[in-house]
């Protein structure tokens, strides 16, 4: 297990560096300079050129990348945003917990609903429960998150007043208000993954149920609950892998959800930064998302190795 973790961590560091380099080079190849945003439409070409010199944007991209990654490795210094003039680190520290909490809530909601739904669907194949589960899955996959978000704002928030239509209420303003402010965004973000994970659980469980060792277990007269537990342990391996990927993807989808519900999270900051050509903030946010994606996949590998030790041994 230790070897597995070590392997994955070393590989992840290389991945982060490679992703960081691609990100850095690609971001700087986007047409447009932040100078136009900062200096405005009246700025002359000379002012733009001077801005680029002042902020090192005229230097080779690899030199800029080296300086940037060195700053992060040395002390989590993400630099200063050229556009807002603010240090990026403190702003990320403010916005990251919001996105992380939103994604965790959405993920927990998806897992808590999806796995029992998948299990019920597999156990009662062809029944009303199975058909209902399929309908939920089809709807979850088919309904675009932004449309669902708009409908949630329109009805539960505006028409019925059950939830605020947007905005973030910190814990300090009351736990209930805080959770109410995140309930609709987490629901909108999690619904798609309920569909994916419940179908994965169902098909995994059905596949495993037909294997020899399950027949043996049944022949030995083990209880239904115990058999289900054994089946789940193996059936969940692909679910965990897909779940980990889903967790990573959620940071990307959160971009639309945070924008729609006006949450001042990291995805919203990313969108603003993209519009403003705020390279430094874009790079910092995407790098952090990459790290979360990689960490969630390492976690999936570890969980899978625990669920099925043979996977750990062959890794």
């Amino acid at each position: 297990m230790l070897r597995l973790i070590l392997d994955r961590v070393l590989f992840s560091i290389v991945t982060v560096l490679a992703v960081g380099l691609c990100l850095f080079v690609l971001t700087r190849s986007i047409a447009g300079t932040p100078a136009r945003i900062v200096l405005g439409t009246d700025a002359t070409e000379a002012q733009i050129a001077q801005f680029d010199v002042d902020h090192g944007l005229d230097r080779p991209v690899l030199v800029q990348y080296g300086k940037w990654i060195w700053g992060i490795a040395g002390g989590l210094d993400f630099g200063t945003s050229l556009v807002s003039g603010r240090a990026i680190g403190p702003d990320l520290r403010d916005s990251l917990p919001i996105t992380l909490e939103l994604v965790l809530l959405a993920f927990a909601f998806a897992v808590i609903v999806a796995i029992p739904l998948g299990v019920l669907s597999a156990c009662y194949r062809g029944s009303v429960v199975d058909h209902a589960s399929r309908i939920v899955a089809v709807l979850g996959v088919s309904i675009p998150g932004f449309w669902l978000g708009l409908m949630l704002i329109r009805f539960p928030a505006v028409e019925f007043g059950w939830f605020p239509p947007g905005g973030f209420v910190p814990w300090s303003d009351g736990a209930m208000e805080h959770l109410r402010s995140l309930a609709m965004p987490a629901f909108a973000l999690g619904v798609y993954y309920i569909a994916i994970l419940s179908r994965m659980t169902r098909s995994g469980l059905i596949d495993v149920s037909g294997l020899d060792y399950m027949r043996t277990a049944r022949a030995m007269g083990l209880s239904r609950g115990r058999i289900l537990l054994y089946a789940l342990k193996n059936a969940l391996v692909p679910v965990v892998s897909v779940g980990a990927m889903s967790f990573g993807y959620m940071f990307g989808w959160a971009l639309i959800i945070e924008y729609l519900f006006n949450l001042p999270g990291m995805s919203n900051a990313l969108l603003t930064a993209i519009n403003n050509r705020d390279y430094d903030t874009v790079e910092a946010v995407v790098l952090i998302f990459t790290v979360f994606f990689i960490v969630s996949n390492i976690a999936a590998d570890i969980i899978n190795a625990w669920l099925n030790p043979r996977l750990g041994a062959t890794a």
Partner: protein
Amino acid sequence: MTPSNISRRNLIRAATLGGGAIALGQLGAAGIARAAAAAGGTLTVGIPGVPITLDPVNQINHDWMVASQMIFENLIEFDDDGVLKPQLAKAMPTVSADGLTYEFDLRENVTFSNGQPFGAEDVKYSFDWLLDPANKAARRPVFTRIKEVTVLAPLKVRFLLSEPYAPWLAFMTKCMGIFPRGSREGAAPDLFRNGAKGMGTGPAVFEEWRQNEYISLTRNPTYWNKGIPAWERLVVRQLPEDATRVAYIRTGQIDIMSSPPPRDFEQLKVTPGLEGASRPTLGGWVALYMDNTKPPYDDVNFRRAVSCAIDRAAIADKVYRGLMDPSAISAPKSAWWYDAAADRASGFDLERAKAYLAKSRYATGAQMEITIPSTPYLLDCRDAALVVQAHLKRIGIDAKLKVIEFAPMLQSLIRGGEPASMWVQMSPGEPTYLLQNVLTPGQIMSKSTSYDNPAFVALLKQSFAETDQEKLKPLYARVHALLAEDQPIAWIGFAHAANVWRKRVHDFKPNQGLTIDPRPVTLT
């Protein structure tokens, strides 16, 4: 203030605020009564843009001037009705006969919110700082005709221009603010960009900037215009998504909403608990820019055909639903410099459009590509561009739409990289700013049209030397006639400033300069 939280302290403050309002005539009788009943409270405004800075010399986002203009003030301001009036100056300036010297007497007993008294030295310091190229102020180019600022007395200052240039007074509202002498030296690099607490004379003081969420200000207790504002705190929320902004105003999370989507505006106005109004801006033109040196726009008859083919009334009605005033010239119908004859000459007339096209080198039709911004700036141009495309098709012009992000689009326009483009620009509410910026050589947006007509430049220069509106009207009539003849741009109309607000908001009206003006607002 609800009955449950009326306190002696609030009542005393309310009475003081009401008294101040009477003295200065800022509020009507009803407003005074409301101020007395409801002094304090938080006014929350929702706007779509993303703030970059609060520094008045670098502020380029009209939406966010709602925050920076609460902190910083100018010698002169354009009021909500588009009338120039003194702000930190005691009266309008005395101007020398040659139009080169402007003398301002300044208000007494004005202090910056850090307690430092305001005077002529601060005015000189602020303008000297703006004009120093080393400081790279974004708004410097519009003030470069200021040759020298001289302090004549502690409360008297003189500006010497290098050539007559009357419009510079109008530019102060959106492009400048006065800050204390010595405040830039030794200050943190981003002090002014991030709020500059204590550095303005305005009715509010910077409180907090929460990235991607809001900027908040608190009432300046030492503000010279006593009784203003009646609110205690102003929160300006960043709400880029239309649906979110609509939901916020409907549920009361904001009190005033900027840029309501045209399709929702009529319904919002009649929604219980809400009010709404719109009025034309004086300087927010929607136009189709054409590079006059590139085919097919190098043919004046082709440009005239384009202008006459666009049914502006249909766009105003069907796309903007009344939130744009159609106009085929560089003036809205509500402006004193509007000229009906020129509007008719360039306006919609399908037969005339076909005749012009027949006279052009492109009689059998032509292809063109119109660049439009992917994200709305001031007004969304995407649907209007589709309608323009259809209108041009009727006379045989095949227009393709190219959608790109606003920032790179601007850069490309500045370099002359977009032969045709359609978007909205906002001027400070006077006739010359955009004409100069876009249609005279050597200016920042000159290459978006490459228009170069010495007769037009001479006419503009003549207008700079004149301040009397009655004498200016015939001059602008000549400008409009010349532009109708050359048709360097196809003007489509002028955007309206539109707002929706909760019924608890009183004494508010949309500002013709587009930026929300929360100063007179009282809350119940």
